[in-house]
């Protein structure tokens, strides 16, 4: 049964999104040293999302200077730098060529230049990047998910503890936590307006995402890095990379994390050589400590019906939520409990930066998103372990999993652990056969 204790424990370890808990303030290193009170920013991972996050940081209006950038690829570095410089100019962008670090290792040097770092490389790099940022004592905006396997999650959880001890703000791009409909509904759910949450359903069913075709000049490492969505060491499968958003909402509604997962998944329609090893559908039953059950479903089936939302049922009523600003709570007779106004809502991708940077410029400590983000990512990884293995996994079995997906060595001529067969197709998990933990 859900107890007050589990609820309190969860609050301690999750994002302080309600703004009700303020930790002692601190001084951001360098925050008041630079003229004009500028905060120095570095971006790690200069794809569309990292570049977008830099824009959102600047759009907060706070005094920020971008001082370093890191990406594995020169072309991504160049296009990102150009987009940022063209928009914000030399007053805000001071990243000479020698501070644009290209390759696998540049992130450490880039971070050393800054007070605040944006972590937006593919998910498989998050644990090492997050750990390094914490070790260097940086304030952090990290994209989701936090890792792609249990080994990565353990690293993030350990670093998250250090971040708390050092009072480093960490905001994670699970942006529903920064979206008003979710905040308003969760406030009411946690207040008991729906009674106890006894069940729910969370979905990310749509047609799938981008594919980058192999080019003849690419090494295997470069190809996987370019087409990273389809390789587990980089992406974690779409249940982790994408559906983590919805699974995280289930954990938020339940104020806890599931104790076990079982499920079914496979590759029904997305089966090409360009499609690596990830599944195109996963259906999971997550069971929580109180016996309540969340049904999770994600699929990438073009042509089929789309559904991306979350629903929960409580002893007193039910709720429908979506990223389209839905937040509709009704009792079991259909009477409204709360209906969120969907019009003119703030952009959550901007709000997460607005709130983070407002905190940073004041030298306060307010955000500790990493632990919840890691545990919600772990929930999704546990789901993948369940569909890949066809077995029932407990939380502890999943979290203690020893299968490490990461390559032994990162270099363009090094080999990832997953390699295509002679026919060009990659091996993928077979439920009932594959060992995942």
């Amino acid at each position: 049964m859900k107890t007050l204790n589990s609820r309190r424990d969860f609050i301690k370890t999750s994002a302080l999104v309600t703004g009700g808990i303020l930790a002692p303030s601190f001084i951001v290193p360098g925050a008041y040293a630079a003229p004009a009170n500028e905060l120095k920013l570095a971006v790690i991972g200069c794809g569309g999302r990292g570049t977008g996050a830099v824009f959102q940081a600047f759009e907060t209006g706070h005094p920020i200077k971008l001082v370093a950038m890191a990406d594995a690829f020169q072309d991504r570095m160049d296009s990102s730098y150009k987009a940022i410089f063209d928009k914000y100019g030399k007053d805000k962008v001071d990243v000479p060529v020698e501070k644009r670090f290209v390759g696998f290792d540049g992130y450490k040097k880039a971070m050393a230049e800054a007070d605040v770092v944006i972590l937006a490389a593919p998910p498989g790099f998050r644990p090492s990047h997050f750990e390094e940022a914490v070790n260097q004592g940086k304030q952090i905006f990290a994209e989701k998910p936090m890792a792609t396997d249990a080994a990565g999650i353990r690293k993030v959880l350990a670093a998250a503890e250090v971040a708390k001890a050092k009072k480093l703000n960490v905001v994670v791009g699970l942006q529903r936590h920064y979206q008003n409909n979710y905040r308003e509904v969760m406030k009411r759910v946690h207040n008991g307006d729906l009674g106890e949450i006894v069940g729910g359903q969370v979905y990310w069913n749509d047609g799938g995402v981008w594919v980058r075709e192999r080019k003849p000049e690419q090494t295997e490492m470069e190809y996987q890095m370019r087409n990273w969505y389809y390789f587990n060491w980089l992406c974690g499968d779409h249940i982790v990379e994408q559906h983590v958003h919805n699974i995280d909402i289930a954990n938020w509604a339940k104020y806890s994390y599931p104790v076990k997962a079982e499920g079914t998944g496979g590759r029904a329609v997305r089966t090409g050589k360009d499609h690596g090893e990830i599944f195109d559908h996963h259906v999971i039953t997550f069971t929580y400590a109180d016996g309540s059950v969340i049904h999770s479903e994600c699929r990438h089936f073009p042509g089929a019906a789309n559904r991306v939302d979350e629903t929960f049922q409580g002893t007193k009523g039910k709720v429908f939520l979506s990223a389209g600003n839905h937040g509709v709570m009704t009792d079991w007779k259909g009477n409204p409990i709360y209906t969120h106004n969907r019009e003119n809502q703030p952009n959550p991708y901007q709000t997460e930066h607005d709130e983070l940077w407002a905190t940073l410029v004041k030298g306060e400590y307010k955000f500790a998103d990493a632990e919840n983000a890691a545990k919600s990512t772990m929930t999704a990884i546990m789901g993948r372990y369940a569909t890949y293995s066809g077995k029932v996994l407990t939380w502890d079995e999943a979290l203690n999993g020893t299968v490490d997906l990461f390559p032994e060595k990162l270099a363009w001529d090094a080999m990832p652990k997953i390699l295509p067969g002679a026919d060009g197709y990659y091996p993928h998990a077979i439920p009932g056969k594959s060992k995942v933990v």
Binding site: T51, V269, P302
Partner: protein, 318 residues
């Protein structure tokens, strides 16, 4: 690129044989698939475009416009057709005999990360949220598939077709109480797109012209364009990404803002929540109300002009 041009040149020649001699309604099948859509002839003619209503200065002055003949989509483009264009693998799996080389040179959308049906459903429902560039490349895809030059209507073509000979605010008169018989709008849509073709058509056989989704035109928007737009086949080539003219009402539009002469505009705010930079050239994650109705000119332009039309580079969006 060379291969692409050579291939499409060959296609053009072979398609000459299929040119329709008769200017009448037809059903276009997307080759190798079960998907079809209907086109209806819109005769050449002259009409009075705009209005002299002082409350809507961008409709002033009312002016005579002469248009060549074209066919227009009876319905707004649905997901059934649009989704084939989105995803090459999906198209391949849905196309008997494979895709061949025809669509090799096509620029396809990046698949949207977000659910671009916005929870409103696909089957028989209008495709939504595409940029004007996405709409243009959809036409390009149709051309590569069918050999027929489909394109986005001009603002003048749209208004001419919507009016269907009428001079009143609506093709059915002035009484907006009748609007719900012809259109899904804010007042009757329950907040969602609806399957196309469920309401009454206009006199020229066009369904949902005032409602369901707003429709792209090719024109850039300038409020004073009518004062200098010229009489014959006018359109306003866009030099900027925003605003373009969109026409018709949508399931979200209030009835007061609907009419044959009403000009609406595309808005960068429709991409506000796109978290990436550059922002998508293909998708508006906050415009579930924008869609597309295609046209086909009776006399197609030259192959060079067709290529130039489809090869318009998208303007970057930050």
């Amino acid at each position: 690129m060379k291969k692409y041009f050579a291939a499409s040149g060959l296609l053009l020649m072979s398609f000459q044989l299929n040119e329709r001699a008769v200017f009448e309604a037809y059903t276009q099948k997307i080759p190798g698939t079960e998907v079809t859509f209907d086109m209806t002839p819109i005769p050449a003619g002259t009409f009075l475009m705009g209005s002299n209503d002082p409350d809507f200065p961008d409709q002033n002055p009312i002016h005579e416009v002469k248009l060549d003949a074209f066919w227009m989509g009876v319905h707004e483009v649905t997901w059934d057709a649009f989704e084939l264009f989105l995803d090459k693998h999906f198209e391949e799996s849905m196309t008997e005999g494979g895709l061949g080389e025809r669509v090799d040179g096509l620029t396809r959308p990046s698949l949207p990360y977000l659910d671009m049906t916005f929870g409103m459903g696909k089957e028989g429902k209008p495709a939504v949220g595409m940029t004007q560039y996405g709409a243009l490349q959809y036409c390009h895809w149709l051309y590569l598939k069918t050999g027929i030059f489909y394109r986005i209507p001009t603002e003048a073509e749209w208004e001419y077709a919507a009016r269907a000979g009428s001079k009143s605010r609506f093709f059915f008169g002035e009484n907006d109480a009748l609007l719900s018989e012809y259109a899904w709008t804010n007042s009757n849509s329950q907040g969602s797109t609806q399957a196309v073709g469920l309401k009454k058509p206009n006199p020229w056989g066009l369904f949902d012209i005032y409602g369901n989704v707003q429709e792209w035109t090719i024109d850039g928007y300038e409020p004073d364009f009518y004062s200098r737009s010229g009489k014959e086949n006018p359109f306003n080539p866009a030099e900027k990404l925003y605003p373009h003219v969109v026409r018709g009402g949508s399931f979200k539009t209030v009835d007061d803002e609907i009419g044959s002469a009403v000009r609406k505009i595309s808005d960068p705010a429709w991409k506000r929540i796109d978290p990436q930079i550059p922002k998508s050239q293909w998708w508006f994650p906050e415009a579930p109300f924008i869609g597309l109705r295609i046209v086909r000119p009776l006399i197609p332009p030259s192959p060079e002009e067709i290529q130039a039309y489809y090869n318009q580079e998208p303007i970057a969006d930050y």
